[in-house]
């Protein structure tokens, strides 16, 4: 394990059909398992979606969801700390020009805010973001 590996964060990606209340079904499984959701987003595909969730115990969450018939996959993402004030995101993006981002979503976690990103090449992404002087949260913050 190299030093940069600690920045790799396990996100759950869950395949979601175009049926009513699929999010509710996912949330219920996590609730029953006592899993805490730290952040999430929903991506719309053509007639289906992908629910992306950050949780405190990803392995347990995956096993529970899989047992309930969900299709779940781990995706490695990066968590960038940003300042919780106007211009907080802009300060980051200025240092992220070199990084190819597939998708991202953010949430507040006072006193700071967090931007979750999925990058094309995670190794290079970590290197470039750190070089840009950004603060990456390591996985112990989550799991």
């Amino acid at each position: 394990m190299t030093d940069s590996d600690k920045y790799r964060i396990k996100q759950l990606s869950i395949f979601s059909e175009n049926r009513p209340n699929r999010l509710g079904a996912v949330a219920n499984v996590l609730k029953e398992g006592g899993i805490n959701i730290l952040g999430f987003s929903i991506a719309e595909g053509a007639g289906y979606g992908v629910i992306r969730v950050l949780v405190d115990r990803p392995e347990v969450a995956r096993d529970l969801l899989t047992k309930e018939g969900f299709v779940v996959k781990f995706t490695e993402v990066l968590a960038i700390q940003m300042e919780d004030r106007p211009g907080g995101l802009f300060d980051l993006t200025d240092h992220m020009k070199e990084v190819n981002i597939e998708y991202g979503y953010g949430y507040r976690n006072p006193p700071y805010a967090v931007l979750i990103v999925r990058v094309e090449d995670i190794e290079k992404g970590i290197e470039n973001l750190l070089k840009g002087g950004l603060r990456l949260l390591d996985n112990t913050t989550f799991h």
Binding site: Q11, S13, F15, E17, N18, A43, E44, G45, A46, G47, Y48, V50, R52, G69, F70, V71, K73, T75, E102, R118
Partner: protein, 444 residues
């Protein structure tokens, strides 16, 4: 050959009265003669059917009465598929004038070849049919069936020319222009699918054109998909168009037969085709009025012979002389299919074709479901298929691309577009016996 003669007390205009009004006993003798001749020809010139007859222990000389037809072995769609492209033909290539093709069940089409006589008989059959619903030289008939490899367009086209009416070769598409042509050229009849005619009526209404008042359209030669008397009534009420039920199949040549003005069943011209109804499970012949699978023997075909061909269509046979005076037997409206074939926008689709196409994608599971419905008289097909867990990716672009690939391959196989829905594994219904893959929500 056209005759305005009024014969036998019936007020009847027939295209070919000598044949159409031939006394039944005489028609039976003609059929037997043609059947014997065709059996001899097949035994001598069709290596495929020669083999079949030998395997069944039948010789041409065993055909002594019409009922002896049951001694002959059946032919199926599979035989035509296995014979791709022309292994079943029994004429020289120099005698061929045309090919048509129908979509096959596993991607390969069925090729139908035509000699000059085959084309002639095809046109003859439809000319009789059209005349029997009151069409003639003074009519303008728009063909809104697809022209090309599909036999529905050109089949009507040449028959209309033979009959001496004016043909408007509109083919499919550009509905607004089709409506303008119907109005401006004073079109009196249209050949299309029933759902397309309904759609055309709606578009016309949107354009402010009342088919009933603003056009001369009065007859619809409708077929190539299942429809009902209710739909026929609706077409008549909304458009003033009398819907005529037509029947045919590319293997038989194309559209061939229709109801007469009496609309009490579809006349199957006995000099061209011998129709039987059999028990779909045992293959045993059933009597008049008994419901079963239609089996057709084409009595004069030269290029692609069709003997005791299992049509897969369920119907009943009516052997009585029609009120119109025509002596040829009639079949009633098709009541269903032996297999699970469905017809989408006039194109035959077998679940096995869909399965074959889906199997080419390693990302997909084995279960699938076809959901068919009709919106605004256009058929829509949705293919629901399970995504394998290992093929799931967090990347929406990749998933969308997969869906696109599946959809394109289906379109290539079926010749009809289908929407694809990826579903979670384990969620589609499982079957212990025969799988029921089709959910048909259309109202006929």
């Amino acid at each position: 050959m056209t005759s305005d003669a009024i014969q036998g007390g019936f007020d009847l205009i027939s295209w070919n009265p000598n044949i159409e009004e031939m006394p039944r006993a005489q028609l039976d003798r003609l059929q037997l003669k043609l059947l014997k001749l065709q059996t001899h020809k097949m035994y001598d010139f069709s290596p495929f059917y020669h083999e079949r007859m030998r395997a069944a222990g039948v010789m041409p000389s065993d055909i002594k009465t019409l009922a002896d037809v049951k001694k002959l072995p059946f032919m199926t769609k599979k035989d035509l598929r296995d014979g791709y492209p022309d292994k079943l033909f029994m004429c020289d290539r120099s005698e061929l004038l045309r090919y048509h093709a129908s979509s096959g069940t596993t991607g390969k089409p069925t090729i139908v070849g035509y000699t000059r006589n085959d084309l002639e008989n095809w046109s003859e059959s439809l000319a009789r049919a059209m005349t029997s619903v009151g069409l003639g030289k003074d009519d303008v008939i728009q063909v809104s069936n697809t022209y090309g490899l599909f036999s529905g367009g050109l089949g009507f086209h040449y028959a209309i020319e033979k009959m001496g009416a004016v043909v408007v070769p509109a083919s499919t598409g550009n509905t607004e222009r089709q409506i303008e042509l119907i109005r401006d050229l004073e079109v009196t009849a249209i050949a299309s699918t029933p759902s397309y005619l309904m759609y055309l009526g709606e578009v016309a209404a949107k354009m402010g054109i009342d088919i009933k008042k603003d056009t001369k359209l009065r007859i619809g030669l409708l077929g190539a998909e299942p429809w009902s008397d209710r739909m026929r009534d609706r077409i008549y009420e909304t458009m003033g168009v009398k819907g005529i039920n037509c029947y045919g199949a590319s293997e038989l040549s194309g559209p061939l037969f229709s109801e007469c003005s009496e609309q009490q069943g579809i006349h199957i011209w006995g000099d061209l085709a011998l129709v039987e109804i059999v028990d779909p499970d045992t293959g045993e012949p059933l009597g008049p009025g008994e419901r079963g699978e239609m089996v057709i023997t084409m009595l004069q075909k030269e290029a692609l012979p069709i003997v005791r061909y299992r049509m897969g269509d369920i119907t009943t046979l009516n052997d009585e002389v029609c009120a119109c005076g025509r002596t040829h037997p009639r079949i009633n409206r098709i009541q269903g299919r032996v297999d699970d074939m469905i017809i989408i926008r006039g194109i035959n689709v077998f679940p096995s074709q869909v399965e074959h196409s889906l199997m080419q994608h390693p990302e997909l599971g084995n279960e699938f479901q076809l959901v068919v419905d009709r919106k605004g008289h256009m058929d829509n097909m949705l293919v629901r298929v399970e995504l394998k867990p290992e093929a799931f990716t967090d990347n929406i672009i990749e998933l969308n691309a997969l869906r696109e690939r599946i959809s394109n391959r289906l379109k290539g196989t079926l010749n009809v577009s289908a929407k694809v829905e990826l579903v979670q594994p384990g969620t589609l219904p499982r079957f212990e016996g025969k799988a029921k893959r089709v959910v048909d929500r259309r109202e006929y």
